[in-house]
C-alpha cells in the first residue's frame, strides 16, 4: 500500500501530517489488510488526547480496504453477512445509478452458484439475484428511517472531490463514491469528530500543487452524508442505542474513542478488529485500562506476538493481541 500523501493546514500553508498522525493512518491500513482471517486484532493505545486519532485511523481503514488483496475478501464477507439475515430484512440495493429499497428473500442456487434473492416492495414485484461479487452493492439501511429513501428508487449523482481523486487512483476513487462498506465504526464524541472530519482542511500533494479537502471526502461518515451517498464509516455517540449492535452491518474496525465508550460497549462488538483509544487525562482512564488489561490476560500468550505490524512510536504506550472472531 502506497502511503497517503497527506498534509494539513490551509491553502496558504500546508504542513505534512506529523508522525503520530501517520501512525494512526498506518494502523487503520494494517488492520483492514490484516492477513489472518480467523482472528481479529485488538489494539489499545494510551494517548495524550483523543484528538484526530479516530478520524485518521478511519481514513487508514478505508485506504486499507482498497489494497488489491482486500477487495474480493470484503465482498465475500459482506455476502456471508447478508446470507445470515432473516427473510424480510430491509436492505438497500445500489444498482448502477439507482438506489432501490429491497427486502432479503433468502438464498437461491442458480447455475451452481448461491445467490442472494432480493425483493422490492413495488407492485411489479421485481426481484434481484446477487452474486458474492456483487454483494458490496447491497447495503444495510440505518436505523434512522429518514435515511432510508422513501421512494423505492432514486437517481444517484456520485461526485468525486479533487481531494479524493488525488489520494487514490481513479478506479478506487470511483468505487468509494459508488459502493458502500462499513470500514470503520467510531463510538465516541460526535461534536469533536464532526469538526475533525468535516471542517479540518487536509491537502493531497499533486504535480501542480495541493488538492484541498476534508476527511469526509474519503471516510464518508454515514450520518454526515446524504441518503443517496455511499458510506465508508459511521459514528455513534456513546449513549446512542445504536451501540447495542442489533442487526447492523458489522464494521471491519471498531474504534472505541475513550474510556466510557470501551467500558460500556465492548461486549457488543466482538466480530470486528478493535482499536481502543484511551485518553490518559480522562477521569475513567484507570478503570478502562484495567478492563482492557482484563481482556488482555484472557488472550493466549502466542497471540500477543504480532508480526508485520506498523512501527509503533515508543512514546505511545500500546498493547495488542489477537483472538478468534466471536
Amino acid at each position: 500500500m502506497a502511503p497517503l500523501n497527506l498534509y494539513y493546514g490551509n491553502t496558504a500553508n500546508w504542513e505534512p501530517l506529523p508522525g503520530w498522525g501517520c501512525f494512526f493512518l498506518d494502523l487503520g491500513i494494517a488492520l483492514t489488510t490484516y492477513g489472518n482471517t480467523q482472528k481479529r486484532m485488538v489494539v489499545g493505545l494510551a494517548l495524550p488526547t483523543r484528538s484526530y486519532a479516530a478520524s485518521l485511523i478511519s481514513l487508514g481503514a478505508t485506504t486499507g480496504k482498497f489494497a488489491s488483496t482486500n477487495r474480493d475478501r470484503e465482498a465475500i464477507r459482506r455476502f456471508q453477512q447478508l446470507s445470515e439475515l432473516k427473510n424480510g430484512t430491509p436492505l438497500i440495493y445500489r444498482k448502477k445509478r439507482e438506489l432501490i429499497k429491497v427486502f432479503f428473500d433468502g438464498l437461491e442456487v442458480m447455475d451452481g452458484e448461491t445467490k442472494l434473492r432480493l425483493n422490492t416492495m413495488s407492485t411489479k414485484g421485481e426481484r434481484y439475484w446477487i452474486t458474492s461479487k456483487q454483494a458490496l452493492q447491497v447495503e444495510f439501511p440505518t436505523k434512522s428511517s429518514s435515511i432510508v429513501p422513501k421512494r423505492p428508487s432514486r437517481r444517484i449523482n456520485a461526485h468525486l472531490s479533487p481531494f479524493l481523486s488525488s489520494l487514490f487512483d481513479s478506479e478506487t476513487a470511483a468505487t468509494i463514491v459508488s459502493q458502500s462498506s462499513l470500514d470503520s465504526l467510531i463510538i465516541g464524541s460526535l461534536w469533536r469528530l464532526k469538526e475533525e472530519i468535516q471542517d479540518q482542511q487536509f491537502g493531497a500533494k499533486t504535480d501542480v500543487g495541493f488538492a484541498a479537502g476534508v476527511l469526509q471526502d474519503v471516510v464518508r461518515v454515514r450520518r454526515f452524508s446524504k441518503a443517496t451517498e455511499t458510506y465508508r464509516s459511521e459514528i455513534y455517540y456513546v449513549a446512542s442505542k445504536d451501540c447495542e449492535n442489533s442487526g447492523q452491518e458489522i464494521p471491519t474496525i471498531i474504534i472505541f474513542e475513550g474510556a466510557t465508550s470501551f467500558l460500556r460497549w465492548r461486549n457488543f462488538w466482538r466480530q470486528s478488529h478493535w482499536v481502543v483509544l484511551f485518553d490518559q487525562t480522562e477521569l475513567e482512564f484507570d478503570v478502562a485500562v484495567q478492563a482492557f488489561n482484563g481482556e488482555y490476560i484472557m488472550s493466549s500468550v502466542n497471540d500477543r506476538e504480532i508480526s508485520n505490524f506498523p512501527l509503533i512510536p515508543t512514546h505511545i504506550p500500546t498493547a495488542m493481541y489477537q483472538e478468534a472472531y466471536q
Binding site: 504542513e15 495524550p48 488526547t49 461534536w191 490518559q280
Partner: protein, 523 residues
C-alpha cells in the same frame, strides 16, 4: 468549547515524547527536625492518637506540615498559631499524657526556633531554576486548589515570578502548554498524566529531602509492546520514569508515602448544617457532603434514586438522544466523582427546577402542588404509624410492582420525588391512602408536574449550552466554577461547581439542607 487543532495536538505528542522530568530535592535542617519531631509524636502515641486531645493537635500539625510540603511558602507560615496551640495544650498534656510531654516540648522548641526564620526553601529553588529565563511560560502545579490564593500572595511580590501561572491538575488536561512546570510535592500526590502526558517541555517536581518518594515506573498496559522497535530513537530523552527502583515493592512504597491530611468531615458537616436553614418539615434524608471549588460545601442526597445535573467537560458522553445535550446530563449521584462539575442553584437556593416548572404550570402550580402534597402526607402518616415494611407489604397486596421496597417508598414520600415511575405503584398508593376514587385526578396532576419538570430541565440545558459554547475551558478549570444567570422569573442564578472531595460516609440530615452550597473554610 474549542476543538484542538492538529498543530496543538502535535504539541501534546511532542511533549509526551521529549519532556524532561527533573526531581528537585530541597533541604532545610531545622524544618526537617520539626517534621521529624511531629512524625515522632505521631508514631509514639499509639492508641492515644484517637483521643480528642490529640486529634485536634495532630490535625493542626498535619495541616501545617502538609501546606509546607505542598506549597512554596515561608516555613514560619502560620507557625505562631501552631506554637500557641501547643503551648496552651501543654498543661493538659502533663496531666493526661505525661509520657508525651517531652516530645511535645521538642516540637514547641523547634517551632520557636523557626518562628523568626523567613526561609522559603521551595520558592528559593524555583527562583534558581527560573532566573535565567524569566520570560518563559512557567506554571506551578499545586496539590490543592485552596493553596492557590496563599501562594498568589507570596509570588506577586517577586518580580521574577510575575508571569508565573498557578495551576491545578485539571488545567493540565487541556491544550495549554508551558515551558517549565514546577510540581510541588512528591509525585504520587498527582495523577499520572501530569508526568506521562505532560503539558510542558520540562517538569521539575520539588520535595523536601525527608519526604519519601520512590518513583517506580509502572507500565500502563500489562505488557507493553516493547519488542516492537521504533525508528524513533530520541524517545529516551523524555526521561519519564528515570528514577526507577525496581526492587521497591508497591506495598512498601504505599507505606512510605507522605499522606495528605484527611478532611475533618465531621467538623465540616456541623459547619454546613449550621449555615443552612431548616424548614421544620421534619423530613430527613440520607446525605453525603461534597467539598466544592470556591471553598463551598454542599449536602446532596445519598439515595440511589437521586440524580443531579452535571456539566461534562470530560467524556462528552451523551445522556440523552440529542447530541448537543452531551455536555449537560443528569446522572445518579452515586456516579459523581471529584473533577466533575455539578449544577447548583446559588441565587435563591435549593432546587432550581421547581421555580421554572412552576412558571410552566402557571396559575395551576399552587393547586397542583397542593394535590401532590395531599397524597404524600397521607402516605407519610401511614408510614409513621405502621412503619416502612408494613406499608410496603400492603402496597404489594394492592398490586404494587417489583419496585416496591423501603428505599423507594421513602423516596416516593419525599418532596423531591414527583410520583412512582410505575402506574401500578401509584395506583397501589392511592388505594392504600383511601384516594382510589380520585386516583385519575392525582395521577393526571402528577403527570403534569412531571412534564413541567422535564420541560424546565430542557430549558435549563438549552440556556447553559449557549453559555458553555463560548466558554474557555482552561479558565473554568482554573476557577473551578462557572456562573449562569437565569432570567429573574426563572429564579436567580445557577453555578456549576467542580467537586474537589466527597465525604466517605453518609449521614441523616433535614431534607431542606440538600443542595444549598455554603462557604466552608478551615475544615
Amino acid at each position: 468549547m474549542k476543538v484542538f487543532s492538529i498543530a496543538e495536538t502535535n504539541k501534546l505528542y511532542r511533549h509526551m515524547k521529549h519532556c524532561r522530568i527533573h526531581e528537585q530535592v530541597v533541604y532545610h535542617q531545622t524544618l526537617q527536625k520539626l517534621c521529624n519531631a511531629i512524625r515522632d509524636i505521631e508514631n509514639n502515641l499509639g492508641e492515644h492518637a484517637q483521643e480528642e486531645f490529640w486529634q485536634e493537635i495532630l490535625l493542626e500539625l498535619r495541616k501545617f506540615r502538609f501546606i509546607l510540603y505542598a506549597a512554596p511558602i515561608p516555613i514560619n507560615f502560620q507557625l505562631r498559631n501552631i506554637i500557641h496551640l501547643l503551648k496552651s495544650s501543654k498543661k493538659n498534656c502533663e496531666l493526661l499524657f505525661p509520657s508525651s510531654v517531652l516530645r511535645l516540648q521538642i516540637i514547641i522548641d523547634t517551632a520557636t526556633e523557626l518562628l523568626d526564620t523567613p526561609d522559603n526553601p521551595m520558592l528559593e529553588r524555583i527562583l534558581e531554576l527560573v532566573l535565567p529565563e524569566s520570560s518563559s511560560k512557567i506554571a506551578i502545579l499545586l496539590k490543592e486548589t485552596y493553596l492557590v490564593s496563599i501562594v498568589e500572595e507570596i509570588i506577586k511580590t517577586n518580580p521574577v515570578l510575575q508571569n508565573v501561572e498557578l495551576v491545578n491538575k485539571y488545567q493540565l488536561r487541556g491544550i495549554r502548554c508551558y515551558q517549565k512546570l514546577f510540581v510541588i510535592g512528591p509525585h504520587y500526590w498527582f495523577p499520572n498524566y501530569i508526568f506521562r502526558t505532560p503539558r510542558t517541555e520540562e517538569v521539575y517536581y520539588l520535595r523536601y529531602s525527608w519526604i519519601p518518594d520512590t518513583w517506580v515506573k509502572k507500565p500502563i498496559f500489562i505488557e507493553p509492546v516493547s519488542h516492537i522497535t521504533s525508528t524513533d530513537t530520541t524517545t529516551k530523552s523524555a526521561g519519564i520514569g528515570d528514577a526507577i527502583h525496581k526492587n521497591t515493592s508497591e506495598r512498601r512504597e504505599d507505606l512510605e508515602q507522605e499522606k495528605v491530611p484527611e478532611i475533618n468531615w465531621h467538623k465540616l458537616s456541623a459547619k454546613v448544617l449550621k449555615s443552612t436553614l431548616d424548614d421544620h418539615t421534619q423530613e430527613t434524608v440520607l446525605a453525603k457532603l461534597y467539598l466544592l471549588a470556591k471553598d463551598q460545601a454542599v449536602f446532596l442526597e445519598a439515595s440511589e434514586n437521586a440524580k443531579v445535573h452535571v456539566l461534562d467537560f470530560e467524556t462528552n458522553e451523551g445522556g440523552d438522544e440529542e447530541e448537543d445535550t452531551q455536555q449537560i446530563k443528569r446522572i445518579p449521584i452515586n456516579k459523581l466523582q471529584p473533577g466533575m462539575f455539578i449544577l447548583l442553584r446559588t441565587g435563591g437556593g435549593g432546587d432550581y427546577i421547581i421555580p421554572i416548572a412552576n412558571r410552566i404550570l402557571g396559575e395551576m402550580a399552587v393547586k397542583y402542588r397542593d394535590i401532590q402534597e395531599q397524597w404524600k402526607t397521607l402516605l407519610k402518616k401511614e408510614v409513621d404509624v405502621r412503619g416502612l415494611l408494613a406499608v410496603c407489604i400492603d402496597l404489594l397486596d394492592y398490586g404494587g410492582s417489583k419496585h416496591v421496597n423501603e428505599t423507594n417508598l421513602r423516596y416516593w414520600i419525599s418532596s423531591r420525588n414527583i410520583r412512582p415511575q410505575d402506574d401500578k405503584d401509584f395506583s397501589a398508593i392511592m388505594k392504600l391512602v383511601g384516594l382510589q376514587d380520585k386516583a385519575m385526578l392525582y395521577q393526571e396532576v402528577a403527570n403534569k408536574i412531571e412534564t413541567a419538570h422535564r420541560k424546565a430541565g430542557f430549558h435549563i440545558r438549552k440556556l447553559l449550552i449557549k453559555q458553555i459554547a463560548t466558554t474557555n475551558l482552561h479558565e473554568i478549570h482554573k476557577k473551578g466554577y462557572m456562573e449562569f444567570e437565569l432570567l429573574e422569573s426563572d429564579g436567580g442564578s445557577l453555578t456549576a461547581f467542580r467537586i474537589e472531595h466527597i465525604s466517605p460516609n453518609s449521614s441523616t440530615i433535614p431534607a431542606s439542607r440538600i443542595g444549598h452550597p455554603v462557604l466552608a473554610k478551615d475544615y
